[in-house]
């Protein structure tokens, strides 16, 4: 309850939670498209590529206002993406290598600029390195305005261009045949992905921001097959991860924000991968078991049917006979129990088994179908 009271009344914590929730929502929603388009690692490249932009923006303007730095980050991230696209289109360098080069070279350039700035005589540059691993505790309400404003633009774009983005994610060729300029749509979507990433850099850091793009979407994917539901769920998961991580790290000492948010998001993914209905690992293990049981029962039922064909009238058979027919490979006892429950087989008072009329009908209808 203390935490709840703090969230409502503690100004710093409220600001931090609000900011983290906003960027989680935006990253989750835009990340959905990145994950569906197999561009998960583009986010990694964008966030790393943003670093030199942040430092250059500071060097050129001398300002540390969030808007200026975010703008610099966005421009650099966007240029990085453009280079990846150019290299992939115009050379034989594979996409993963192009991403790796942009990611590491831009980041290297960013570190060069950062070490250069840190040696400048005045101390106004202090704090730029919070962009490496992120620091939620430094968030102010005017940062929230920037994050919220840019995030709202990105979300609005998703709503406005919903149909185009959907086409791009699932069937770009079909989109092109409809006359939709898919290349422009691609650049548009990537631009908003860049925005979603750069607004999170201050809180999560360039090193780990990509995880906040991937994880909520990957978690949401497990629960649904519908794009709209997935976007909403991913936004929700992003918000949960953001708030959990940011609140934990700003209320405890020596806990960096970025990694905490990432672990919160990873936990959501693990939980979803295990527990989600239809796709989850637990669910599919259970349904596999059910299927095996079904097949086993069907086989025993077929045996009973065959035996009934040899004998006129009701004639019970020992369990041992049925077990021999299955060559001892299946648990016949359990299969018979299942069949009895379904009314397809019955046992007489001497514990011998025979097929019922319903069972016979079942086998015959199966035969007709095949």
């Amino acid at each position: 309850m203390d935490l709840l009271r703090d969230l409502l009344f503690d100004y710093t914590l409220r600001t931090v939670a609000l900011g983290a929730a906003t960027l989680g929502i935006v990253a989750g929603a835009l990340g959905t498209f990145a994950v569906l388009r197999r561009q998960s690692l583009l986010g990694d490249a964008i966030s790393h590529a943003a670093l030199p932009g942040i430092v250059l923006a500071f060097l050129l303007t001398g300002m540390k206002s969030t808007f200026v730095l975010v703008l610099g980050a966005a421009i650099a991230g966007w240029i990085g993406t453009l280079i990846v696209m150019l290299v992939v289109r115009h050379s034989r360098v594979p996409e993963d290598s192009a991403l790796g080069i942009v990611l590491s070279v831009f980041f290297g350039a960013g570190l060069v600029l950062l070490t250069y700035v840190q040696k400048l005589p005045d101390a106004s540059q202090a704090g730029l390195d919070r962009f490496l691993f992120g620091q939620a505790a430094t968030m102010l309400s005017r940062d929230i305005v920037v994050i919220g404003g840019l995030g709202a633009i990105a979300l609005l774009a998703v709503v406005i261009f919903w149909k185009e983005f959907k086409l791009l994610s699932f069937d770009p060729e079909f989109g092109a045949s409809l006359g939709v300029p898919m290349r422009t749509v691609d650049i548009l979507l990537t631009t908003f992905l860049v925005i979603a990433i750069v607004i999170g850099l201050q809180t999560v850091g360039v090193v780990l921001m990509s995880a906040l793009v991937i994880a909520p979407a990957a978690a949401a994917r497990q629960w649904t097959n519908s794009l709209s539901v997935m976007v909403v769920l991913a936004a929700l998961f992003g918000a949960i991860a953001g708030v959990t991580g940011a609140v934990i790290s700003s209320s405890a000492q020596h806990v960096p924000t970025g990694p905490t948010i990432v672990l919160a998001a990873t936990t959501l993914v693990l939980f979803s991968m295990l527990a989600a209905p239809e796709r989850g690992l637990v669910w599919s293990a259970l349904s596999r078991r059910r299927q095996r049981q079904q097949i086993r029962a069907d086989a025993v039922l077929a045996d009973l049917y065959a035996l009934a064909g040899h004998h006129a009238g009701e004639h019970g058979h020992e369990l041992a006979v049925l077990e021999t027919m299955r060559a001892g490979r299946t648990d016949v006892r359990r299969a018979l129990d299942v069949l009895e429950q379904r009314g397809l087989a019955r046992r007489d008072n001497r514990n011998r088994w025979s097929i019922t009329d319903a069972g016979r009908a079942e086998v015959e209808s199966e035969k007709e179908q095949s």
Binding site: V35, R38, S40, L41, G43, D44, H48, V87, H90, S91, R92, V93, P94, D96, S97, A98, L99, G100, I101, L103, S104, V105, F106, F107, G108, A109, G110, L111, V112, L113, L114, T115, Y116, K119, D129, L132, F133, V207, L208, S210, A211, I214, A215, A217, A218, R221, Q222, H254, V255, P256, P259, T260, V262, L263, T266, V269, M273, R279, G280, L281
Partner: protein, 368 residues
């Protein structure tokens, strides 16, 4: 002396990384280097908690093991088919890296690692940590470690060259011939992990990626033969190391960062100026082919109307605009160039007539 030693370390690190990187690039596993170079940190931290000794050689073992575990974990997550491979990499390594960073910051007092060193490495300090045997100074420790790793890389590639080559370019055939691609894959990833651990110490986790990917990708733009790509990427890595060192010295900034930037500049140069596949070379080739094609078109046009009644009218420069839809300037240039190439002659009355070599070229083009 110190500058010389730093440069030596830089060269050895870059060359070792670039050799392993060639196969990462060719096998399209470039971003595995990103994953591994991050997660080795967790290996180091965990082993440190057990041994409490930052100099322990076990750290390297733990880190390399964590690198291989990362590969296996990514594979495991992908096998569930619940997420795709790219997302699988993007989920696994940030999580492991986050755990490592949290452990480091929480126990910052007892771990002699800080997050700056994780990202930047400490190549500038490499000469201050000496390797001594029996009281005799044998040079920087990093040089010995990375030298060993370099030799390991070279011998691994030399001994398993055939297997690596086959499984890289035709994994199906390699498996059919019984080369145990799985075993080779994990052996190679172990090598990558060991290299990443060694380089991690000097250049930091993210710049390892630059050294592993950029020089091989650059070499891949410049050559088609595997041995040449290997040699070229080692050479490019050396240039990047030296260029980076001197750039850093000039502007007094991070050496590792400058090395990565230098590797990036070299890649960009090859991408733009490469002799066969560079942007400019390709654009020029396209341009040349365009004019060649136009000249051939003209020759075919002339051949088509040659000896017909309309030839006096058709075979003129002014008529090409109507027939081939060429702009007058374009037509003039094509005619001039065709003349220079001895495909046609201009008669005094302005008619164009094929020369024998022009006729031959047109006939050959028509015959396909």
């Amino acid at each position: 002396m110190i500058a010389l030693e730093i440069q030596l370390v830089a060269i050895v690190v870059s060359v070792a990384c670039s050799l392993a990187g060639v196969f990462l690039v060719l096998r399209r596993m470039a971003l595995m280097s990103d994953a591994i170079s991050h997660t080795v940190l967790l290996g180091i931290v965990l082993v440190f908690f057990i041994t409490r000794d930052i100099g322990s050689p076990l750290l390297v073992v733990g880190a390399a093991a964590m690198g291989v575990a990362t590969v296996a974990l990514v594979e495991l997550v992908r096998r569930t088919r619940l997420v795709r491979e790219d997302a699988s990499i993007g989920l696994v390594f940030p999580a492991l890296f986050s755990i490592a960073v949290i452990l480091i910051t929480r126990y910052a007092g007892s771990v002699h690692l800080d997050t700056d060193a994780v990202l930047l490495g400490e190549i500038a300090f490499a000469p201050f940590r000496r390797f001594e045997a029996g009281g005799v100074d044998l040079g920087p420790r990093a040089l010995w470690i990375m030298g060993g790793i370099l030799i390991l890389n070279v011998s691994f590639i030399a001994i398993l060259y055939k297997e690596l080559k086959l499984s890289t370019f035709d994994p199906g055939l390699a498996a059919a011939l019984g080369f145990a691609p799985g075993v080779l894959h994990y052996a190679f990833m172990t090598l990558v992990s060991i290299t990443a651990v060694g380089a991690f110490d000097t250049v930091g986790s993210i710049l390892v990626v630059a050294l592993m990917i950029a020089p091989p990708a650059t070499a891949y733009l410049l050559s088609d033969s595997l041995p040449r790509v290997l040699v070229l990427s080692a050479a490019i890595a050396t240039i990047a190391a030296l260029g980076g060192f001197w750039a850093a010295w000039l502007i007094d900034a991070s050496i590792a960062g400058c090395m990565a930037a230098a590797a990036g500049v070299l890649f960009l140069l090859a991408f733009m100026l490469g002799p066969d596949r560079g942007l400019i070379a390709v654009a020029r080739r396209r341009e040349r082919q365009r004019w060649e094609f136009a000249r051939l078109m003209l020759a075919i046009h002339l051949l088509h109307h040659e000896g017909t009644e309309a030839s006096a009218e058709e075979n003129r420069e002014t008529h090409l605009g109507e027939h081939l839809r060429w702009e007058p300037q374009f037509a003039a240039r094509v005619v001039r160039e065709a003349e220079e190439h001895d495909l046609l002659r201009r008669l005094p009355d302005g008619q164009l007539r094929l020369t024998s070599s022009g006729r031959l070229a047109a006939e050959r083009a028509m015959a396909g």
